[in-house]
């Protein structure tokens, strides 16, 4: 036999790929930050080629949105439902359940809340709490079928939750183009909520939605970090087999966590209808389902990190709307940028888990 090393391509001879044992957290943070910067640069390049003047980008995204108190309020306002869907995503993913049905659960939450408003259930003082409860129950119920199917029949939840999204969207259209349409005009909207049915502004123009979202974030932090269910959940997440062997009620933990995820998504639906729009509209949910998954992924299912990421995504949403108004750039840009960021950060895992080593002298 002849010596094969001479026939190996140059790159294979000089470099090898190794699985890294561990990486210090600050290096990990640096790699992820670098990935985010690369993602932002790609996004900025796309924005510039789509017709936004390069000088305006910084202005639009950073200065106008974060250093102007009015738009900062808009960002926080926008962040509230995003925090909720992000937390919902975190919870479901911690239970190893791909909940892609966040949009469907949001839609049912909003439908439930609107039903309470439309049929004037309960006295005015109790109306808003009742709407919240109803939104959570409806979101929870829409998550019930896929989780039961997954636990008992092993039906793939990615497909089932997505199919339920399409069913929920069509049901929403049935309502807003049909019996729930505001009789006063011909738009596909429900009648407006009354004043006491809307989430009020608390202080300095900050909506109750923001406070509510932060309270829920603390609750999720307690649930995942301190409560007994959270301990079980970490067990199930790291090794379902071992968890079952030591007597953790695996199915009940997954069921409860996913249902909670659905309830939070339902509440996010209410935050948009009762907080932002003031009525049920035909496309209020657009983009939130994906953002929820993205936020949970970028935050590595950590509730506090999810809250921070949600605020950043909210900045992107607000900036995206103003780009839409001033430069006629479609809102899909926001989704594209989010996807690019996800791809970059997911790719950065490769550099955290592997190291490329150069081999001296050509010895293999």
């Amino acid at each position: 036999m002849f010596d094969t090393t001479n026939f190996q391509p140059l790159l294979a001879r000089r470099y090898t790929l190794e699985v890294r044992q561990q990486m210090a957290w600050y290096w990990q943070a640096l790699v992820i930050a670098l990935a985010l910067v690369i993602g932002m640069l790609i996004s900025a390049a796309i924005l510039v080629s789509a017709g936004v003047p390069a000088g305006e980008l910084l202005n639009e995204f950073v200065i106008l949105t974060l250093f102007d108190s009015q738009s900062l309020r808009a960002v926080l306002f926008q962040a509230a439902p995003l925090i909720m869907v992000g937390l919902a995503g975190c919870l479901a993913f911690r239970a190893r359940f791909w909940n892609l049905g966040l949009e469907g659960q949001m839609i049912w939450g909003a439908i439930g809340a609107t039903a309470v408003s439309l049929f004037e259930i309960g006295p005015p003082s109790l109306r808003l709490p009742l709407m919240m409860v109803c939104a959570m129950v409806c979101g929870l119920l829409w998550a019930l079928a896929p989780v039961l199917l997954k636990l008992h029949l092993k039906v793939n939840e990615i497909i089932s939750t997505l199919m339920l999204n399409y069913i929920a969207i069509n049901f929403l259209l049935h309502l807003v183009y049909g019996s729930w349409k505001d009789p006063r005009d011909s738009f596909p909207y429900s009648p407006q909520y009354k004043v006491f049915e809307r989430l009020p502004e608390l202080f300095d123009g900050v909506s109750l939605a923001v406070v509510l979202a932060l309270v829920v974030a603390l609750f999720v932090l307690w649930f995942t970090g301190i409560s007994r269910a959270g301990l079980y959940l970490r067990f199930v997440d790291s090794s379902p087999g071992v968890a079952r062997a030591v007597g953790v009620p695996v199915k009940r933990v997954i069921l409860g966590t996913v249902l909670l995820s659905g309830a939070l998504a339902g509440l996010a639906g209410l935050m948009i209808t009762a907080g932002q729009e003031g009525r049920l509209t035909h496309s209020f949910y657009a983009g939130y389902g994906f953002s929820g998954i993205l936020i949970a992924f970028l935050a590595r299912n950590q509730p506090i990190a999810a809250t921070v990421v949600a605020v950043l995504v909210a900045t992107l949403f607000v900036a995206g709307r103003s780009l839409q108004v001033f430069y006629q750039i479609p809102f899909s840009m926001v989704q594209l940028i989010q996807a690019i960021l996800v791809i970059c950060v997911a790719s950065s895992e490769f550099f955290i888990r592997h190291r490329i080593r150069r081999i001296q002298g050509g010895q293999v």
């Binding site: 997505l162 899909s332 996800v342």
Partner: protein, 309 residues
């Protein structure tokens, strides 16, 4: 009677995208890569097909070929993510769908390709079958409908009767053994991703260029996801997938018929049917058999040579 005849005549138009996309998915998944990105690749094919038709001024065949190439190029991004970067294949698939949704939505508006009608292909009638009563319209279709079974035969022959196909399936069943036998695992997987994605892109282009004859943002409307379910339902067998595609074609072809016939049904409930049927089929498959023997052994698992098992 007329209604049934026109319903039957419409079936291929709805069945062919499912069939081609399912075939592409089977090619990818037989190599052991979980391909959730079908929805996104169909969108890319659909937009590229319309764009090419508009730019070339109606050279539809070239438009279809360009659409296939566009989907193939975008799938390289997916190949990069799952083969080189070793990203979790579920995350990579979802990211691809979201990326393609954003990209096509953006390009469709910025390039002003939305709602612009294109010519498509002229229908060809397959005489003497086209003269048959009731089922005659089944044989008056655009040429791609008649080409689809040929594509199936070719792909099935390659997959099941050639060395290339044997190696591809080996890579999907047991990549470690295939690697030991000297088969380039990542090369085969990359080729499978690109080839399968080109078929999925053709399916998308069929929807936009030949069926709807215009581009509307997000026009694939979940058909890619339905196809993912269809492939599970067909147990990764091309002929069963073709049968499933015809079944879904029958259901989708009913929707416009019901609107035309004047049966008073709430239209949005009618629109729900394909999704509800998909869900039903998934449950039925789960109830009927729990064996997963026909599933490619290494589906969804990344191949990392350094981590021999």
């Amino acid at each position: 009677m007329d209604m049934i005849a026109s319903w039957i005549g419409n079936i291929p138009d709805f069945a062919v995208p499912f069939a081609l996309a399912a075939l592409g998915l089977i090619v990818i998944e037989r190599s052991g890569v979980l391909a959730l990105g079908a929805e996104g690749l169909m969108l890319v094919g659909a937009l590229a097909g319309i764009g090419a038709s508009l730019m070339t001024g109606g050279a539809t065949v070239w438009a279809l070929i360009l659409a296939m190439c566009a989907a193939g190029v975008v799938s390289l991004l997916f190949a990069l993510m799952v083969l080189v970067m070793r990203i979790n294949q579920v995350i990579a698939g979802l990211a691809l769908v979201f990326f393609c949704q954003g990209l096509t939505g953006l390009l469709g508006t910025l390039l002003d390709w939305t709602n612009k009608p294109v010519a498509g292909l002229h229908a060809v009638s397959l005489w003497p079958f086209s003269e048959l009563p009731v089922v005659g319209k089944l044989f008056v279709q655009n040429p791609l409908v008649f080409v689809t079974p040929l594509i199936f035969v070719v792909v099935v022959l390659v997959l099941n009767r050639s060395v290339l196909g044997l190696r591809l399936r080996a890579v999907g069943e047991n990549p470690q053994a295939a690697d030991a036998a000297g088969i380039p695992v990542l090369g085969y997987r990359c080729a499978a991703i690109v080839a399968g994605s080109m078929l999925i892109g053709l399916a998308g282009a069929y929807i936009s260029v030949l069926s709807t004859k215009m581009w509307i943002a997000d026009m694939v409307g979940g058909r890619g996801w339905i196809t993912v379910a269809l492939v599970i339902f067909a147990r990764w067998s091309p002929w069963k997938a073709l049968a499933g595609a015809v079944l879904f074609g029958c259901i989708e072809a009913l929707i416009p018929q019901m609107a035309a016939s004047g049966i008073r049904l709430p239209q949005y409930f009618v629109f729900m049917t394909p999704y509800a049927v998909t869900l039903g089929v998934m449950i039925w498959v789960a109830l009927a058999s729990r064996d997963s023997s026909s599933q490619p052994g290494a589906l969804g698992e990344p191949f990392i040579r350094e981590e021999r098992r």
